[in-house]
Amino acid sequence: MKKVEIFDPAMCCSTGVCGPTVDPELTRIASAVYSLEKKGFAISRHNLTDDPGAFVENKKVNQVLVEKGPDALPVVLLNGEVVKIAEYPTTEELAEWFEATPSELQEKPRVRVSLNINN
């Protein structure tokens, strides 16, 4: 199975609702990661403030930080290789990597409507 790791900048909370405006990009990624995790996919997120160790231990991420500084975050790794710098993966990319459909990543509550067409 493919493995995705997202290294976030220093943030207060991963849904991004604490900024001066809500960044839909952050709420999108938070909910996509949440859905993928629930389905058992190998995806993880590391926030610089809470988990700086991860940014040291991962040599690839560390190298990006040394070369480009904090503005390079978020850094996205696919199977251990840097695939994105300073931006989050799109929903389509995530779907492609995990061979899922984009709609699976944004599941909506399903409402069953029963229709009686016999009358």
């Binding site: 709420t27 997120r45 700086p52």
Partner: protein, 589 residues
């Protein structure tokens, strides 16, 4: 009226928390109580968690983090826990191990993220949790008194069950806005114990300290409600500084007395249900153990300090501030400072003064206690003066609604619940207010905008860093409103913006205001004026008690004028509350 507070005649719990806003006399009340209990033979520990604590001045002993016995009071020990120091230490414990391992610029973004108000509060709570939960402390002392109680929002944060389990057990979700709590997983049991002790009425008493004035009683009411809601029900109220008698021939003395009585009559209903006591207004400053003992033992006036005569002051009044802003055509004027210092009156008087000079002025406030409509009287507005108010509750509700509308579509119910939990964070209120400010400030393109209270330095920095972050993100889809984008540069431009720090000539408000000023400096904003409000020193009162107080103001006036302010003005204590346009004009005459 209330009976005098006397700890010698009361059943006292092992823990006592003294809470109330800056300048109400928390420290002196807590010290006097500690001394009285120790004099009874009880072993007492007094702890201050106020970063601007004047505990050492009051006790006249140098204090540190570790309890130290007070030589002149057998059985009393005291310590001074500085939460900012603790927050710094916490920040260093997070960032320090990575020095040399991550680039400096990267570490700087972490440090900024850990500089918020939450970190300071959690660090303070961390410090006193040890005292609350440590059995050894209780074995050693009969009473532990805390000068400053934890706020409702820290306690709520610590109680969030999903926060603990969701965040700490599975940090990849990072559901809740816990920032500074994240590194503290080992402390869950300790915090639970501390929170339990606080809500146990046999263990803890919450002492709400207030002055006999409307805003301080309202604040006590708010704290009482908030802390009751999270289970701290054993509360009592001390009205501090109640003038016992007055001199009928001295106008200031009569007005002072009557205003206090009127404020007490208007005590909020809920607060009236709390057991209340009073402490007298005294002429002497409450420093030194002997003076503290006086407070409970005899109420005789002790007037040696009142002998001096005041030197004339050479400071402008509020009209100096107004002239300056009018002349420089300052577009945005903020009044800042702790609650209860009279920000709203000062802001209103500045607005009136500028409109009298022919400027078109808009005045707004966030102070829920100070309805401008009340300050002015309904029919009292002039053509070139308009008013509005920013209601924090309304703004927060609106903000939450917006977020859920913007971001919530397409989310499952579980995801939405996560998002909603994040929205309960204290940051949300700051951000919501910030947006409301930005909208009002935008009006300054057409008229002068006077704003009573301002976003904190923390919010400003948050905006700054987030905006920078947005710029760097190539595909930033977060939609920062124009008003917000322009706000910070505008506030940083001294040609456009004038910040007025309002204070009283007393230790705590001055020290807290100077901290506020430091916060603003970090955000790149300079305070232009300091206004010393309600000064008895600037009156000609002959009342012995009031005169004593007036003399003790001198030191603080000199500190503000000499060390803190670029420009300083002073407003004498006024005999009546200024309500209405014409009355406000008197403020500036």
């Amino acid at each position: 009226m209330y009976s005098l507070f006397n700890p010698n005649q009361m059943a006292v719990t092992p823990f006592l928390f003294f809470t109330g806003k800056g300048g109400v006399g928390k420290t002196s009340t807590a010290c006097a109580t500690a001394v009285a209990l120790a004099d009874q033979g009880k072993k007492v520990l007094l702890v201050s968690t106020d970063p601007a604590s004047n505990l050492q001045d009051v006790l006249e002993v140098e204090l540190t983090n570790d309890p130290k016995s007070i030589p002149s009071v057998a059985n009393l020990s005291a310590c001074n826990i500085d939460p900012e120091q603790a927050a710094k230490a916490y920040k260093e414990s997070v960032v320090g191990p990575y020095r040399g391992k991550l680039p400096e610029a990267v570490l700087a973004t972490m440090e900024e993220q850990l500089s918020g108000a939450c970190t300071v509060e959690i660090a303070a709570f961390d410090e006193f949790s040890h005292l609350l939960a440590d059995e050894e402390i209780l074995a050693q002392y009969d009473h532990v008194l805390f000068d400053t109680a934890p706020t409702g929002h820290t306690l709520r944060l610590l109680q969030l069950p999903t926060a603990w389990s969701g965040f700490l057990e599975d940090s990849t979700h990072g559901a809740s806005c816990l920032g500074p709590l994240a590194g503290l997983e080992g402390k869950k049991a300790l915090y639970k114990k501390a929170v339990d002790s606080l809500s146990d009425g046999d263990k803890t008493t919450l002492v709400l300290v207030a002055r006999p004035d409307n805003s301080s009683l309202l604040e006590a009411d708010r704290a009482s409600f908030e802390l009751k809601e999270i289970g701290i029900k054993n509360q009592l109220l001390i009205v501090n500084g109640l003038l016992q008698s007055h001199q009928p021939e001295d106008a200031v003395s009569v007005a002072f007395y009557e205003r206090q009585r009127a404020a007490i009559e208007q005590t909020p209903e809920a607060l009236k249900q709390v057991m209340a006591y009073s402490l007298p207004y005294v002429s002497y400053s409450l420093t030194g153990v002997e003076n503290l003992r006086h407070l409970f033992s005899s109420y005789a006036i002790h007037s040696s300090e009142a002998e001096e005569t005041g030197e004339p002051l050479d400071l402008p009044g509020l009209n100096g501030v107004i002239d300056d802003f009018s002349e420089h055509n300052t577009r945005v004027i903020f009044t800042m400072g702790k609650g209860g210092v009279g920000k709203t009156s000062v802001a209103s008087a500045i607005a009136v003064g500028l409109s009298e000079k022919g400027h078109k002025v808009h005045l707004t406030t966030t102070d829920p206690a100070a309805h401008l409509a009340y300050t002015f009287g309904i029919s009292d507005l002039r053509d070139n003066l308009s008013i509005s108010s920013i209601n924090p509750e309304v703004e927060v509700a609106r903000y939450k609604e917006n977020v859920i509308e913007q971001a919530g579509s397409g989310m499952t119910e579980e995801e939405l619940a996560y998002l909603k939990e994040d929205l309960e964070s204290p940051c949300t209120e700051e951000i919501a207010l910030f947006q409301a400010f930005a909208k009002v400030v935008e009006k300054s393109e057409e008229e002068i905008v006077v704003i009573d209270t301002a976003p904190t330095g923390h919010t400003l920095l948050l905006l700054d860093s987030t905006e920078a972050y947005h710029k760097e993100m190539s595909r930033s889809t977060g939609d920062v409103p124009d008003s917000v984008k322009k706000l910070l540069p505008r506030l940083r431009n001294p040609k456009e913006t004038g910040v007025v720090i309002v204070t009283l000539a007393e230790a705590t408000p001055v020290l807290e205001a100077s901290r506020l000023e430091q916060d603003l400096k970090r955000a790149g904003i300079e305070a232009k004026w300091w206004v010393i409000n309600q000064s008895l020193y600037a009156t000609d009162t002959a009342d012995a008690v009031l005169k004593g107080r007036a003399i003790s103001e001198k030191k603080w006036i000199h500190k503000v004028e000499g060390e803190l302010a670029e420009k300083c003005a002073i407003i004498p204590w006024l005999e009546e509350e200024k309500i209405g346009y014409d009355q406000l004009k008197e403020f500036i005459s």
